[in-house]
Subunit: 419 residues, 2 copies
């Protein structure tokens, strides 16, 4: 089974955007048994796409094209497919309805050019795009398939997971002898090397399987990849590896797969019937917006304050003037008073707070850029912890919000809070 | 001048890492007059690289390979180059010294395998790697060049900027007749197709140049690409195109290049000595966190409230109970009272507010998911505007925060607020 990925778009070639679509597709296809053999990135030029289609036709069973499906003159994917397969375009009226609905539901008059989005090659099938106006296109040619998808990530990703992968697994069922399976374990609050040290000899843990360390600013993801003769055998291999990993690094594991810390915390709060509030200074609303990104968060999240000025820390959260004067806004004392203040103001069960120097300016020898205090308060107890997150503003904000949520998770689950 | 980029590494194909190297190289090469025509990502397989080298030899003047230069068995770039050019390896003693020094400076005994890193093809030149042990390789073949670089970004990037680009500009000086230049114009509040319609016949605007529409959830970026005989001519071409675009879509343009709406607004507020506050319901802190992402935002941003519950809307922002009962939390009246409330609470000059149904649940026939009211208040005036942003929670939050900031920008600049 040979698979090729064609990414279409000048903006990728000139480095205006990073090709994250290819990484997403690479991972999904790999773990479904269709590892990508080659990824070609080309500009918006029909001739170049035509020659890539010809190469695909000769050498690959699965070809996936992303990008170039929009309604404007520089979108070349549909014209190239029609030309290569000697086909013509016809209007798909279900798609046309869908495109019109998207515009009318937003009270926008549909521009004429968008009628063209409902045109698809006669000898193709529509891959439904729930999140946008450009349908995907599926062309079968004997035991070869050509799939074109829009380049907008939030349109393309669900089309892959919900339609393309199930289709491929079914269409090529006879040829997929091995079962590929993967599981991603999410950790936070520990770096890649320290995690590696705690795990020890990786081969003892994984045997013949693969374990990848994927670091990011929110933590290190561990991806387990196994190959087996049956789903059952694959599952059992994964269970064994996960069990061994949990013994060694269990406290740092907060979730799996596509979960994130804010949804994990949401589940814990909901299960325990607890409410949450947040007081943010250096994180400026990032924690609040992460909590709210979880559907249904209104069940446990009351709200928060971004007290960016000292005046607001005092007037809204009740931080004492003396505290600010004696210890400063970036201090354990202020963090604790902020957490206590927002908890009382909102009458929530638990609260977290942040105050720090996000940078790039504003640091001193005593309180450098990257210094952050994170506070927590509930009915029994209030405390604050100190961190140094380096000198990049965005990384600081990301790390502070991630660490604050991890402190909350550990507090709620009674896990020792040590980093 | 045709340029090809070959990225080598299984880890890119299976999506374990995102190919940020290609974006870096694409940008640097483009702005130096060597726009990348094709980027091929391949796995660690010698045969595949050999066939790519053959394609490069036929069709491209510049080929840059990244990755596969390490000392282990799965590093295929050097063996493939030696085989393709019918060459042999010789030890470069300056490189060997450098490799040994790197190990001894870290107090590490050099593994035997690292001796191999000083081996380079006889008919090649070393591209010095100050930050690592794998030297780059330069092979000239008449008016074609093949360049191999390590895949580690912090090793590769300075080699490009300090050695490779100066070399290429010099080596191909006779052929670099054209100057390439680009400018990106940022728009928001209007979709790709409507923008296209306002612009009309694109060719009238751009002539021989290129115009790309790059849509995202925060707006459509328009990238102008021109080729000219001199920098002056290129600049003048861009000016002309920009002038024509401004005539047609000027109100929708908020910035250029790498700017974002929050930094543009920050500049306006700072220039006019105005302070800002924010009251968020459905956006949950997203607007606040975007404002705070701008360094120095503490100069004009006082703070905000995320009043996720109705209680907080009343107790903190002073939204009236009757307003909530009569019109509901998602209403023009509530949005206006929220904006007025936060402005008074923080004593700021101007404020914005959001209240809506982010979804996926909570909609009704009368107030569907995606319905959002955005409010604005200053000393003279308060108003709210209604939007329908569709049924994806994350997209709703993004669009609501972007639109709220755009309303603020237009208000501050006295631009008519129509979408």
């Amino acid at each position: 089974m040979k698979t090729k990925l064609i990414s279409v778009g000048d903006e990728i070639l000139i480095g205006q955007i990073v090709n994250t679509n290819a990484a997403f597709l690479g991972e999904r296809l790999f773990s479904s048994g269709f590892p990508v053999d080659k990824n070609v990135v080309i500009g918006d030029e029909e001739d170049v796409l035509l020659s890539e289609l010809s190469d695909s036709d000769k050498n690959y069973q699965v070809t996936i094209i992303t990008g170039g499906l929009g309604p404007t003159h520089d979108d070349i994917t549909k014209p190239a497919l029609v030309k290569y397969f000697n086909d013509k375009l016809k209007t798909d009226y279900k798609v046309l309805d869908h495109v019109r609905n998207i515009f009318s539901s937003r009270n926008i008059v549909m521009p004429h050019v968008n009628n063209g989005q409902a045109l698809i090659p006669e000898n193709s099938e529509v891959i439904w795009n729930s999140n946008g106006t450009a349908p995907g296109i599926l062309i079968k040619k004997k035991k070869k398939v050509f799939i074109a998808l829009p380049g907008v990530p939030y349109e393309m990703k669900p089309m892959i997971d919900e339609i393309v992968l199930p289709f491929l697994k079914n269409y090529f069922a006879d040829e997929l002898k091995s079962v590929y399976m993967q599981k991603t374990i999410l950790t936070t609050g520990i770096g890649e090397s320290s995690l590696n040290e705690l795990i020890g000899d990786v081969n003892d843990v994984i045997g013949e399987s693969k374990l990848a360390f994927l670091p990011s600013s929110s933590g290190v993801r561990l991806r387990i990849n196994v190959t087996a003769k049956s789903s059952k055998e694959a599952e059992s291999k994964i269970d064994t590896i996960e069990f061994k990993l949990k013994e060694k690094i269990g406290d740092y594991i907060f979730g799996y797969g596509e979960e994130d810390l804010e949804s994990v915390i949401g589940d814990i709060l909901r299960k325990n019937n607890l409410t949450l509030s947040v007081a943010e200074s250096c994180t400026g609303g990032r924690i609040s917006s992460r909590i709210v990104s979880v559907p249904g968060s209104s069940e446990y999240y009351i709200g928060g304050v971004c007290s960016y000025s000292n005046e607001l820390k005092m007037s809204l959260l009740g931080v004492k003037k003396e505290t600010l004067e004696r210890f400063g806004a970036v201090s354990s004392e202020t963090a604790v008073e902020m957490a206590e203040g927002i908890r009382k103001l909102t009458d929530s069960d638990v609260s977290i707070s942040t105050t720090g120097i996000a940078g790039p300016d504003g640091g001193t020898a005593e309180k450098p850029v990257g210094l952050v205090w994170i506070g927590l308060s509930d009915k029994n107890n209030s405390f604050a912890m100190k961190f140094l997150f380096g000198d990049n503003r965005e990384i600081n904000i990301q790390r502070s919000s991630q660490r604050a949520l991890e402190i909350l998770r550990r507090h709620l689950l009674n896990i020792k809070i040590i980093f």
